[in-house]
């Protein structure tokens, strides 16, 4: 039996770091990912798709967003099971009970709104498959609902049982929170064959949590941040009494790239420009660039020029220059006659740029640039 394990669609997620135009495309890309997942399901012959939580980025979404999401889900050619996660819990604001959602809910989509073994999925699941769900009912539950769902579960007999849960796990960057999943409990449930596979959501990077390969984070299908390790996949899970095989399939179209350049020498500006030039799919790439080192005013000008030229077309360019020192040299100041008022002021600004106070230094840098500009016009 084959199904698709995915999670963290985060539909309706905003993108602060993007310009408005790019943000719209980014949102659209997340919806388009559903179509690609549908393609994968069809291609792979998956029986269904299970989404392990955070289908929506929040419950408080506009009807338009909800309607578009419902339509996209409807286009997936296999049944889709949605688990409410911490971003979209079954609390009073839940989308899953909103009239606009319910009225547009496609027939192939089911919400796993009751904890435990699902009784009413017989029409969408292949025979011999059971789904144990642990939906979130609030954003901050006293315990992860999966624990309760697994605790008194009798061993699965004559069926492949898939648990669907959501939340951080203590073994991976374990957070000291009430709703943290105890990996040991999951392993035990798997070990005792009370469940055969645990499909998890929350972590945006595709992550395997046990040696046997039965506990997985699917990761988000479209990346959302720079710090995600391996996002952009869905898992194709083959499972039966004999065993389990999990295979990631890439569906992402966007990239989040963080890079660092140390401009020790003038040539590095060129290297940086070269690196930028070479980036593919710029319109779907967000770049975080940290530039350190020291440059002259001319070097800084060239850097800005390079970023402007080579960075054109990027979905976003987050330039971090707090580690970059601008040190004007004699050449920078040749246009200012020695001993002239402008030159004396320039020297003072130069001293301020070399000071500890970064705020003052950046103001001084801009002031020096202004001085040069005004002086040039003289």
């Amino acid at each position: 039996m084959r199904f698709i394990h995915t999670a963290d669609w985060q539909l309706g997620m905003p993108a602060h770091f993007l310009a408005q135009e790019a943000a719209v495309r980014f949102q659209q890309a997340r919806l388009d990912a559903l179509a690609r997942i549908g393609d994968v399901a069809a291609r792979e012959g998956a029986a269904f798709v299970v989404v392990a939580g955070d289908v929506f980025d929040t419950n408080l979404l506009s009807p338009q967003t909800v309607a578009r999401a419902a339509a996209a889900m409807g286009r997936i050619p296999v049944p889709v099971l949605l688990l409410p996660g911490n971003h979209d819990p079954l609390d009073p604001t839940t989308i899953y009970r909103r009239p606009d959602f319910l009225s547009q809910l496609p027939p192939n989509v089911r919400v796993l709104s009751e904890p435990g073994v699902q009784a009413d999925l017989a029409d969408v699941l292949p025979p011999g498959v059971e789904v144990v769900a642990a939906p979130w009912t609030s954003r901050h539950p006293a315990d992860n609902p999966l624990h309760a769902a697994l605790r008194d579960l009798p061993p699965a007999v004559g069926a492949v049982r898939i648990a669907v849960g959501h939340g951080g796990v203590d073994a991976v960057g374990g957070r000291d929170e009430l709703d943290i999943l105890r990996l040991e409990a999951l392993r035990q449930a798997v070990g005792e064959r009370r469940v055969h596979y645990v499909a998890l959501g929350d972590r945006h990077s595709t992550t395997r949590l046990d040696g046997e390969g039965r506990i997985f984070y699917a990761g988000t299908p479209e990346p959302t941040a720079f710090d995600e390790v391996d996002p952009g996949n869905v898992l194709v899970v083959d499972i039966d009494a004999a065993g389990v095989a999990v295979r990631p399939v890439r569906v992402a179209t966007w990239r989040f790239v963080a890079e660092r350049f140390d401009l020790a020498r003038g040539e590095d500006v060129e290297a940086l420009a070269e690196w930028l030039w070479r980036l593919a799919d710029k319109e779907r790439t967000a770049v975080r660039l940290e530039v350190t080192g020291a440059v002259t005013l001319e070097g800084r000008r060239r850097l800005d020029q390079a970023l402007e030229d080579a960075g054109a077309g990027l979905a976003s360019l987050d330039l971090r220059t707090s580690g970059l020192l601008v040190r004007p040299d004699e050449e920078d100041l040749t246009s200012l006659a020695p001993g002239s008022l402008a030159r004396r002021v320039a020297e003072r600004l130069r001293a301020e740029m070399a000071g500890e106070d970064r705020e003052q230094a950046s103001v001084a840098e801009a002031a020096l640039a202004l001085l040069l500009r005004l002086g040039a016009g003289a």
Partner: protein, 988 residues
């Protein structure tokens, strides 16, 4: 720059004037209104105002008297190596012309706008316009302190002196930086404006939006949490309600039982009340019967008692009457005794009076006798006294005389000769007629105090004392005679006898005194006649008493016995009176007792009758009652009622106990509580349901409007606004920082440049105000204060004179510094130093002289004396123009005005073929245009006819009578004749 010459024509009140200025100091003197200031004004306009200007100031230059002429100014000015002759005319046929003579002899001639621009270019190349402005001080402009820091040219000089090089470049750069900063900040207070303000506002707005949406977001979360809570509460509340309803049902059942018990109790209480009524009725009947029997018995007893009391009262009345009669008798007895005793007392008193009267008669008789005896003895003593009245006085004198005699004798014994005779045989002799006989051995002696003649026989011996003894002797004789006289007058034979008489008189006096006292004592203050009268009275009384006396009464004995008898009688009478009173009192009492007893008897009798009646009534009633119902019957009836009552009480107690056992109060309380519980549980349920409904509605509304998306968008906007603000802030702060640094650097440079200026100014200040003087400058290098001998005085506090002097010195210092660099500008002072004293003026003179060493100084004044101490000055006198007058200078001015201007720009030569006819036509045209008579000068000016052509031309016109002349010589005016005005153009 140096001004060499200035020529004005038809400018304001000046018809024409030319002034030549020296290279050093030029003093232009002239009275008020003579147009000194006009010279300066004209020069300013020449340099600044284009000929086409119609500005108010230019129109003000137009002459009122020669309005047909445009004001014209011409100046000859040295600008560095170039000499410029520059002329402008405004308003009427405006014109500008410029002639430049360069060092090497090259010349340039320019006209109109070209001339103006070229001149301006040259001027600005050589002159700092601000300095030029600052160094011309016009009359009435005030002596504001000059601000060298604002004079770029001067600053450039100063900077040059210090080796700085900011100059214009610095000014420009700062201006540009300020312009840049002004995009972001307000000019003075650095308040954000423009894009910075917008970025800040946008950021704040985004923050507000975010906060607001965040609040809404939290509100939604709160609602959601509350909804969850409410739902849980509602479930719990439903259970509570069910329990409360059950509790209420049980309480109501209990309440029903209580009701029944209460009814039973009420019934028992009713029965009890009835039994009590019956019992009380029976008991009352019985009691009434017993009381009636008792009353009847008591009445019988009381009737008997009343009878006894009545009899006793009758007896008592009789006894009382007996007692009264006895008392009456006793009283009568006592009354009689008392009367007798009073009689006896009266008799005893009469006796006493008689005895007293007799004793009185006796007494008065004795006293009268004694008074008489004493009177006689007194009369005797007083007679003796009368006789001896003069004795004391005579005695006193006699004793004095005798004492004097004794003293004289003693002196004579001592002084007077003494005649001592001793008889040897019986001797008879006569001394002074006195026969003296001496027996043998007998001696005789005498003091000789006067002539003493001793005769013895025939012998007559005369003994004559000395003068003193004789005098003494005479005195002695006189005294002896006086003594004898005294004794004679007293009736005494010697002084001793006289003394005895005096003794007797004293005795008589003492006797008289004593007798008078005794007599007075005997009289006891009354007269003898009075004593007599009293005696007679006493006698009469005694006789009367004697006569009234009963004959049988024994005569009374002495006074004491009589008094004792009276006292005894008085006591007896008193005793008898008291007894009488007592008896009377007793009688009264007895009479009252009688009356009382009689009344008591009456009352007792009445009571007896009443008691007997009462007894018979009661007896009758009791008998009646008993006939109706027997006593025993009543007893039985009462006992039965008591039994019934006891039974009812028992019943009531049982019913009460049964109710008590049900604890009705608690039951009621429980019921109330249970009902309240149900009520409150229902209300709570309704509230919760309403709340849940409301929250669901609110959440549905909120959840559906994409709050999180809007929040996210707002956050993105905020982030963008923050980034924009950061960028703008850096730009704004950079511009600000740049302005600050430029200004700071420049200020520091300026501070360095101050020094040369200050040195120059200090030098002048010392020259004028004294060696221990210096000035302090402000940021613009204007004089802030003058420090004299260490005391700083702010500029505004200085005297008007000192302010003016300092203002001039500051300009002088500027002028000197500028001149030193070859870029000098004339220092022009119009009517300065009106407030300066001669001493200061002299010192100022040396300063102006010093300035003039390097550059030009032009002083305009109406008081030339002020400047007499400026050595080497060129004096120029100007006079007031008097219209039409013929005074001194007038001629010259007119000539000057008439003189055609030197053609600076070569006018195109007259076209070939032009000649006299052309000039004549021009003159006619000119006169036609003017429409009024014109003078020669005006005509020449307007027409451009050369002077040399004038006489010929005008003469021809006059001869042809196409032009008429009025006035002669310089007053001549020319006009078209009236008839020809229209046809003038047809003239030949």
């Amino acid at each position: 720059m140096r001004i060499e010459r200035l020529r004005l024509r038809h400018v304001a009140g000046v018809r024409a004037r030319e002034v030549t200025f020296g290279p050093g100091v030029t003093i232009v003197e002239g009275p008020n209104e003579s147009g000194k200031s006009t010279l300066l004004m004209a020069l300013r306009h020449l340099l600044a105002t284009q000929d086409g200007s119609q500005a108010k100031e230019i129109r003000a230059l137009r002459s009122q008297r020669w309005p047909e002429h445009g004001p014209e100014v011409e100046a000859e000015i040295l600008l560095g190596p170039v000499r410029a002759v520059y002329r402008k005319r405004w308003l009427v046929r405006p014109e500008t012309s410029l002639l430049l003579e360069h060092d090497g002899g090259r010349t340039e001639r320019l006209g109109a706008g070209e001339a103006h621009d070229r001149m301006r270019e040259l001027f600005e190349a050589h002159v700092d316009p601000a300095l030029w402005e600052a160094l011309q001080v016009m009359q009435g402009e005030g002596w504001t302190p000059v601000k060298p820091g604002r004079l770029p040219g001067l600053m450039r000089l100063l900077e040059g002196a210090e080796g700085g090089a900011d100059g214009d470049e610095g000014t420009t750069l700062l201006a540009r930086a300020r312009a840049e900063a002004a995009q972001y900040w307000t000019e003075r207070e650095w308040r954000p404006r423009g894009p910075l303000r917008q970025a800040m506002d946008a950021h704040a707005q985004a923050q507000r939006t975010c906060r607001q949406l965040g609040d809404e977001r939290r509100q939604v979360e709160e609602w959601a949490d509350r909804l969850v809570r409410d739902e849980a509460d509602l479930r719990r509340q439903q259970e509570t309600l069910a329990k409360a309803v059950e509790g209420a049902r049980r309480a109501e059942e209990q309440e029903g039982r209580v009701g029944e018990a209460q009814a039973a109790l009420a019934r028992a209480q009713e029965a009890l009340a009835r039994a009590e009524g019956d019992y009380r009725l029976a008991e009352a009947e019985l009691m009434k019967r017993r009381a009636l029997a008792k009353d009847a018995e008591d009445a019988a007893k009381r009737a008997e008692e009343a009878d006894g009391e009545a009899q006793a009262a009758a007896r008592a009345a009789e006894e009382a009457e007996a007692s009264r009669a006895e008392a009456e008798r006793a009283y009568e007895e006592a009354r009689r005794k008392s009367a007798r005793a009073r009689e006896e007392l009266r008799a005893a008193e009469d006796d006493l009076a008689l005895v007293r009267a007799r004793s009185e008669v006796e007494g008065w008789t004795r006293r009268l006798e004694r008074v008489r005896t004493l009177g006689e003895a007194l009369a005797r003593a007083e007679g003796e006294l009368g006789r001896l009245a003069a004795v004391p006085e005579l005695l006193a004198r006699a004793e004095e005389v005798q004492a004097e005699l004794t003293r004289i004798d003693a002196r004579l014994d001592a002084q007077a000769p003494r005649l001592e005779l001793e008889a040897a045989a019986p001797l008879a002799l006569e001394v002074e007629g006195e026969a003296i006989r001496l027996l043998p051995g007998q001696a005789w002696a005498r003091r000789v105090v006067e002539r003493l003649e001793v005769r013895h026989g025939d012998l007559r011996a005369r003994l004559v004392p000395g003068v003193d003894a004789a005098q003494e002797g005479r005195e002695r004789r006189r005294l002896t005679e006086e003594l004898a006289d005294l004794l004679r007058r007293a009736g005494a034979d010697s002084v001793a006898a006289l003394r005895a008489l005096a003794e007797r008189r004293s005795q008589a006096e003492a006797d008289a005194r004593r007798l008078r006292a005794e007599r007075a004592e005997a009289l006891e203050g009354v007269s003898a006649a009075e004593l007599e009268a009293r005696l007679a009275g006493a006698r009469a009384r005694a006789e009367a008493l004697e006569a009234a006396r009963p004959a049988d009464r024994p005569p009374p004995h002495g006074l004491e016995a009589a008094e004792a008898a009276r006292r005894t009688a008085a006591e007896a009478a008193e005793t008898a009176r008291q007894e009488e009173e007592r008896r009377l009192e007793a009688l009264r009492r007895q009479e009252a007792g009688v009356q009382e007893a009689a009344m008591a008897r009456e009352r007792a009798s009445a009571r007896r009758q009443e008691a007997e009646e009462h007894r018979s009534v009661l007896r009758a009633r009791l008998e009646e009652e008993r006939r109706r119902q027997e006593d025993a019957d009543l007893e039985r009836q009462a006992a039965a009622a008591a039994d019934a009552l006891a039974a009812a009480k028992g019943e009531e107690r049982r019913a009460a106990a049964a109710l008590e056992a049900l604890d009705p109060e608690s039951a009621a309380m429980r019921l109330r509580n249970a009902r309240a519980l149900v009520e409150s549980a229902r209300r709570e349920g309704e509230r919760l349901r309403a709340d849940i409904e409301r929250l669901r509605g609110a959440l549905e509304a909120r959840g559906g409007d994409g709050l999180d998306e809007r929040l996210a968008e707002a956050e993105a906007t905020l982030e963008r606004a923050a980034a924009e603000l950061r960028r703008t802030e850096v730009r704004a702060k950079a511009a600000r920082r740049l302005v600050e640094l430029l200004a700071q650097e420049r200020a520091e440079a300026l501070a360095r440049y101050r020094e040369p200026y200050r040195r120059a100014l200090d030098r002048y200040a010392r020259a004028v105000f004294g060696p221990d003087t210096r000035v302090e400058l402000d940021d613009d290098m204007a004089v802030r204060e003058l420090v004299e001998e260490g005391v700083a005085i702010p500029f505004e506090r200085l005297s008007t004179g000192a302010q003016e002097q300092l203002a001039v010195l500051a300009r002088a210092a500027c002028a000197r510094l500028a001149a030193a660099d070859g870029e000098g500008v004339p220092l022009v002072l119009d009517d300065a130093f009106g407030y300066s004293d001669p001493d200061r003026l002299e010192r100022l003179g040396s300063v102006l002289r010093d300035v003039a060493d390097g550059g030009q100084v032009i002083l305009l004044t109406c008081v030339p004396d002020r400047y007499r101490w400026v050595s080497g000055a060129t004096f120029v006198r100007v006079e007031r123009d008097r219209g039409g007058g013929d005074g001194e200078g007038e001629e010259e001015a007119r000539a000057l005005a008439a003189e055609p201007p030197v053609p600076l720009v070569s006018t195109p030569p007259p076209a070939p073929g032009t000649g006299e006819g052309t000039w004549r036509a021009a003159v006619l045209r000119c006169l036609k245009e003017a429409g009024r008579p014109l003078g020669k000068g005006e005509i020449l000016e307007r027409t451009g006819v050369p002077e040399g052509e004038w006489m010929r031309t005008i003469r021809a016109l006059l001869e042809a009578q196409v032009v008429v002349q009025s006035g002669t010589r310089r007053g001549a005016r020319y006009a078209l004749p009236a008839w020809s005005a229209r046809a003038s153009s047809d003239a030949p």
